[in-house]
Symmetry: C2
Subunit: 325 residues, 2 copies
């Protein structure tokens, strides 16, 4: 394939949403960059931040694995979680990034070296090199401290006054360069308040997106999370992003229209519901992009992973946009 | 260099002694194999054995690093020790080996994969794949359980009745193949009871060494350890090895004759004293093989590391033997 060989795609997010987009796009001859939120402070990542003072490795690890061309074994190794003792809960990839940060003295260098070890196809760039915490002030004046606390809150869809990173972080200058020179910027899917918006809270990122000549596409989430984005429709997601971008910059909004089986929606009912599209806009691109869930595996999967994008189908739709640039 | 391109050297031991021999020999065009004791149960390795049920990674890690042709950064990473929290004390390389063991389901496969990651020049072969503990019954009937307890005992030079591995381990079949086909077998330097003898306690290893056509060389330790080999001379070391080998098989005994500066010996005085050579044998090879200790670093080094072989000088002496095979 020659098409789009030199097209530069910048994917902005964090967490599993990024993983799905990158894993699909990796198969095309693109110049791929993942820009990753640095607000994670839960689980293994949170412990490493607290105990070792390192920058959060978890979301970066997922992007590295998504872009990796190394063996299946190496990718399994990166995601392997120790089960017992003092190591319990830590994923090996997180430990690799944290040890590399200690040995090289820089998280940026650590990500670069881990990228070499994993033969990644593309770049992974932390949005900031500052140690930041995500904070949110709810309408009821309660202050939520840390991404984990925000992620677990059941009150966010009651409204919040503000969300910010503390201390106010300097952007990693490479982020601005990448956005400036991009042909396509992809935002989403991903946790709205915990993965997408935290990138836009870093100094200069929203301005860079607004000023870039790149086409901008928003990939709408499949599911709302109860207590977080409960009852949100497409317009609510768009409205929130525009609030932090400063401007509605999206050229396209990519929306899945494939309905999951009713039994899956039922299983998910305590977690949240499907996002409805209430937008009727020339920008809306509708497509069938649902990932298949092996019936046998259902019981074993986390509910939040049951309904998700198929990375290949999602990438195909994004490539249709790329081909028209 | 063409000489000895096809000569097969098997180095038997464990711990830092192995590291010094392998690091020096790595620079020559040899077919190098490290056979590694699996009795370690101290520090990071002991915790991983207890908490994760893995085989002991520590000595294997040191051999892998010694044979590695990867970047200096990768070698530093392997030896990096986490300082705080639940990870405190673990070396990254130990975690790599343990995670690989969990992901591949086999320690042997884990060592092989780690060898690829580190581009090792040679092979590292665990002497057994059984979970073993080293035990020692002293003359006073006290039983020491575990390599760590034996290593820390101050009574061993008062005499012991027996030392054994429990359960009695099956040898890794590759060990026998390697010894059978070796041109030179190198035993030592290293902790006599904690690194050298534990290999000879594995079923079939001593017989294989005795029956191999390989030349056999014993590299005598530089220092005795108080409470362990206190007062031992060359003949005592030889006598103990022969006890477990079943036969005096050594073609050469390589002994350092370079005297460390008196101030270093003084610093070491509480730990132990220089090993004297009381053998006068056609097999004795005397050489200057002492490692230089940077004066500035003295304070920071562990005492037991102050007086050690220079890996290059030691390798040169071993290559003189190889060149005559």
């Amino acid at each position: 394939m020659i098409r789009a060989a030199s097209k530069k795609i910048v994917v902005i997010g964090g967490g599993t949403g990024n993983f799905v987009v990158l894993r699909g796009l990796k198969k095309y001859p693109l110049d791929l960059t993942a820009i990753v939120s640095m607000a994670d402070d839960g689980g293994s990542t949170g412990i490493l931040r607290d105990e070792l003072g390192v920058l959060p490795p978890g979301d970066v690890r997922q992007c590295l694995v998504a872009l990796s061309n190394s063996s299946r074994l190496m990718r399994s190794l990166m995601n392997y979680r120790f089960e017992n003792g003092g190591l319990g809960g830590h994923s090996f990839g997180n430990l690799l990034l944290s040890a590399l940060e200690k040995v090289t003295g820089s998280f940026e260098k650590a990500v670069e070296e881990a990228g070499k070890i994993l033969y990644i196809n593309g770049k992974v760039i932390p949005v900031t090199m500052n140690q930041v915490r995500l904070k949110m002030v709810l309408n009821n004046r309660k202050v939520l401290e840390g991404e984990r606390e925000i992620y677990l809150s059941q009150e966010i869809d009651q409204g919040y006054k503000t969300i910010y990173l503390e201390p106010y972080p300097k952007v990693n200058p490479k982020v601005i360069e990448e956005i400036d020179s991009a042909d396509l910027v992809v935002i989403g899917p991903g946790g709205l308040h915990t993965s997408l918006i935290p990138n836009l809270l870093v100094e200069g990122v929203s301005d860079a997106i607004c000023q870039s000549d790149a086409k901008k596409v928003f990939v709408l989430n499949l599911m709302n999370r109860k207590g977080q984005t409960g009852g949100y429709k497409a317009s609510h997601y768009l409205h929130e992003l525009v609030r932090f971008l400063g401007k509605d910059v999206f050229d396209h909004i990519l929306i899945n229209v494939e309905k999951p089986p009713k039994e899956l929606i039922d299983v998910y009912a305590n977690e949240g519901e499907l996002v409805e599209n209430d937008l009727q806009d020339g920008r809306i691109l509708e497509a069938h992009m649902l990932g298949a869930v092996a019936a046998m595996a259902k019981k074993d999967l986390l509910k939040r992973n049951l309904i998700r994008h198929d990375s290949n189908k999602l990438a195909q739709e994004l490539m249709k946009i790329v081909d028209h640039i």
